[in-house]
Amino acid sequence: MQEPTLLLLTALADAPRHGYALIQEIAAISDGRVKMRTGTLYGALDRLLGQGLIEVAAEEVVDGRARRTYALTDAGRGALATEAERLRAVATEAERRLSVAVVSPRVRGAFA
């Protein structure tokens, strides 16, 4: 799963959200590193809708402005859980290896 997809599914994991709220959530989750643009966001939303991982939860007009709210489907929740488990296993293994690593001293003047 590519990072934008992971971030998008994560942003929808706790509650349904509309387009602009998703952009804000993704920026917050990634600590400001990923700023998804409108076209890119809707490209990802259309793809995930097509894959059945998300659905349109509500269509409403707020202050005269059209707004759709998107939510995870059961399949999307399952895909996110599987990816989270995979990442957790990798992180655990990385931490285990770091804790047992033997740090060798750097040799000055040696070729890299």
Binding site: Q2, P4, T5, G19, Y20, I23, R37, T38, G39, T40, L41, Y42, G43, A44, D46, R47, G50, R65, A66, R67, R68
Partner: protein, 312 residues
């Protein structure tokens, strides 16, 4: 939003297919307005470009979920490898024949040519490392340099037949322009994280392309090859690429990867052997009829399901 911004957003939305624009246009405009509220001109331009780019992808059927977008993305490793390999081959051949150009006019003349070769080789390296944004940017530089070189060559004062010279040079430079277009058409989210398979395909294409291109000296021996073989070298990869409408990616991917080279290298020879571009019209007409028939048959039967032969 200012009047200028509203006009720009409407222009960007006009790139979307009508039905999608009617259903989602207002929603997209609202998200754009919220996202760019208080943003500077550069941020607004970038946002507009992104909004329009997705519309253009939808309009041209090059999204990550469409057959065209998937085909371009799946062909990307082969395309990057073929371009890099052919560039390396041409650079080596040029060096062996002419050496390194020295200063002044000679250097200036060769600058676009060497830029296109260098950018194509670096693009292949970037693709090998999975740096697709860099690979696409370098392919774009390569294509731009190729266009500059083609115009430069064809518009020199001493040239009396610019079209002949243009097409003659196109057999060398054309593949890089067309391969770059395929890479640029590939949606970012559809491009693979290179595994050993993608890297192997890329390296195989890089090794095989210059061998095929130079082993038989296709460029200089146009008069040794009958025109029907030339025509087949264009038509067969074209029909292979169009097999994507049936979901036959295993056939379509190599077809699309080969087509830029086979088209470029044979166009000039066919034109010359026929004695004029208009004489190629019957063949072009038949090809278009076959292509349209293939597309219509594909649409009637629908794309291949899970049982279709696919690469991915």
């Amino acid at each position: 939003m200012s009047d200028a911004t509203v006009f720009a957003v409407r222009t960007a939305l006009a790139l979307y297919p009508g039905r999608y624009r009617r259903e989602r246009g207002d929603e997209l405009a609202v998200v754009f307005a919220d996202t760019t509220a208080g943003a500077g001109p550069m941020a607004k331009i970038q946002e507009l470009f992104d909004l329009g780019a997705y519309g253009l992808r939808m309009r041209t059927g090059l999204t990550s979920t469409s057959a065209g977008g998937r085909l371009a993305a799946l062909a990307a490793p082969l395309v990057a490898g073929a371009a890099g390999g052919l560039a390396a081959g041409q650079a080596l051949l040029g060096y062996l024949e002419s050496g390194v150009p020295h200063g002044g006019w000679g250097l200036l003349h060769f600058l676009p040519y060497w830029a296109l070769l260098g950018a194509a080789m670096l693009s292949a390296v970037a693709a090998l490392l999975g740096r697709w944004t860099m690979a696409k940017a370098l392919a774009g530089v390569s294509a731009l340099a190729a266009v500059v070189e083609l115009v430069w060559v064809a518009t020199r004062p001493e040239v009396t037949q610019p079209l002949w010279v243009f097409l003659e040079s196109f057999q060398w430079d054309g593949p890089f322009v067309l391969w770059a277009l395929v890479l640029l058409a590939a949606p970012k989210e559809g491009l693979p994280v290179p595994s050993w398979r993608e890297r192997g395909l890329l390296l195989a294409a890089a090794a095989l392309t210059p061998v095929v291109a130079f082993a038989d000296n296709v460029y200089t021996s146009w008069y040794h090859l009958d025109r029907q073989w030339r025509a087949l070298m264009i038509v067969v990869p074209l029909l292979m690429a169009l097999a994507v409408v049936r979901g036959w990616y295993l056939v379509a991917v190599p077809g699309l990867a080969a087509l830029p080279w086979t088209f470029s290298v044979n166009l000039h020879a066919l034109w010359q052997q026929e004695g004029g571009a208009w004489k190629l019209l019957p063949m072009a007409g038949l090809t278009v009829v076959a292509a349209v028939a293939l597309v219509l048959v594909g649409r009637r039967r629908g794309p291949a399901g899970p049982g279709g032969r696919q690469l991915a």
